[in-house]
Subunit: 395 residues, 2 copies
Amino acid sequence: MPAHDFPLPVVLLIVFGSAKLMGELFVKLRQPALVGEILAGAVIGPSVLGWIAPNDTLKALSDLGVMFLLFDVGLQVKAKELLRVGGTATLVATVGVIVPFFAGWGIMLAWGAPQYEAVFVGASLVATSVGITASALSARGLLHEVASQIILAAAVIDDVLGLIVLAVVSSVATGHVNFLEITLTAGLATAFTVILAKWGTSAVNRVLPHFHTRAEAEDAQFHLSLILLFALSAMAIYTGVAAIVGAFLAGLALSETADRRVRDLTRGVNELLVPFFLVGIGLHLDLAVFRTPATLTLALVILAAAIVTKLIGCGLGAVSLGWNNETWQNMLKIGLGMVPRGEVGMVVAQMGLSMKVISTEVYAVVVFMAVATTLVTPLLLKIAFRSPVLEPAQV
Amino acid sequence: MPAHDFPLPVVLLIVFGSAKLMGELFVKLRQPALVGEILAGAVIGPSVLGWIAPNDTLKALSDLGVMFLLFDVGLQVKAKELLRVGGTATLVATVGVIVPFFAGWGIMLAWGAPQYEAVFVGASLVATSVGITASALSARGLLHEVASQIILAAAVIDDVLGLIVLAVVSSVATGHVNFLEITLTAGLATAFTVILAKWGTSAVNRVLPHFHTRAEAEDAQFHLSLILLFALSAMAIYTGVAAIVGAFLAGLALSETADRRVRDLTRGVNELLVPFFLVGIGLHLDLAVFRTPATLTLALVILAAAIVTKLIGCGLGAVSLGWNNETWQNMLKIGLGMVPRGEVGMVVAQMGLSMKVISTEVYAVVVFMAVATTLVTPLLLKIAFRSPVLEPAQV
């Protein structure tokens, strides 16, 4: 579908304006603003009004937006607290990867799909979009709950596991399985993440003050923070994990040294760019799945599987927290927090499409699942985290 | 020249990191940081290292950066103060358009260039890049000097005049001179600018509070400010003036209502994006002019004319301020402030190139002039605005 070729300010006005309008509407309805912003993308996108279509510039603004979102979340969390829940988070991530993968695979085989296609759909169900959950938790001021910290840590581990699954799956699909390479990739990604989470903060605490005392330009601390953000995001890509994992680790490393000014300036960038990330997800909503009853059925089955398997898989992982009267609620929160697939699921589907192992029909099903899990999660999280102190909260 | 196809975070790291590194170096040398940032673009660009080449994404970040730069400058200035110097600014802009145009035209004819090419080079000497001057003045805290306000107002008027010159020149080049259309364009652009400068602030003062009291989302005032910024930038384009004129008028309209929080959040966006504007100018530096002595001579003559004609033309316009012991210095400041051509000169040259009325050699000459005037101005401004209170100032 051809979209209008508007000049940049018009695109900015449509994307940002519609996001904030829908966000405000959802806040008025006591619903999470970010769901409104994603829906704004669906409305202005190719499926409905057709004013805006995904393009390189919007992609860059969206990527930058989610990097800053995770950076900001990292700034608000202490690495120590995440490492304390590391064991539980690893279990949550691992079970939460295995269950959805096999469920997706099984469903596709039962539906009569070829082996490789089934494997790719399984892989697309693996990875959580930490951006959506982080945004919802951050907007409600819940980042310091134990459940939130487990979700964040698990989502980062989940990204590393997703990378390994994807490496295995695509090498199987192309017929060249290089175990050495896969092991190396996995090792590098794990080392990068663990080293930065463990020693990033203390390294920054030690090194940064030297730069600060020497830098003469105004707001030099903010510039140094951004350089660290871009450097770790770039390194993340070369070690194989997502750029946003690097962005999160950069925020984490700076969480003890960043002053009020750095946080305020970061917030300014976020307020501008995060809507581009949210709208960007909505833009991809493809109503093609509604064209035939068979595809629609498959889409709904996959969507249900996507929600239930993460809920159960990650919830089970959380049992290791020990048993008390909050256990059930924590399992629910953690399970739900890991549900959104967002842009990560779409990337896997896109890869499958370009490798010609999944059909355009199945691609539409996966994208539908990715967007729908993302829309549903903030609504469900709002219920799971409902607490008398925070109501009526703005998510 | 093919540039590397780096992933986004790597591009961000190279552009932002090199800008801040060179900026810091220039501050240490007691020189304007922004000259360092533009030079960073020249160093990483196709002319020297070839790491980064201009592309759509960088163009979008640069356009967004200069929009926010002018928005921020508008926030710091009162419309009333600009209107007070409106008469002088109009004179400054008008004489400052006529003198460079005829100088450029004459030089090219004397050099043996065809008529249309000479006209286009003249037109490329007309428009001032208000972004560079505004950035230099803003960084030194000089926006409230009378000379600065005349520069800002004159630069906006200059943009409207430049639009008219360009409309005339391109219609002459294509052979279809439609006077009605040109008059209409001029009228629309003038009406847009004058109406917003005159009544924008009071309209915003009256209307915005209603939205504020109703909006429930956090930082709603910032969101509304950005929506106004994008809306006026978009309208500016449709009325024919540059998006940044709309951005400046949006800042101006909000200058009485914007609170500390809005200014801080805007500053955050600026700190991230303005380097992309500055580096973007440096990226275009084309050393092709140094290839033959003849081209180099022409480039230096055009550069000298670009500086001297604005200096004299705009300086003369400033005589209307009346004669006192500061007149000479104000003439110098205002004349210098109008020298940088930056991206505006490049746009005219690009248009001439795509209409095939200027050669690639002359294109390189104009781009060289545009970049060089931009590099030289902050250095000269620093001398002209030298004051004991501010030294050693960081520009």
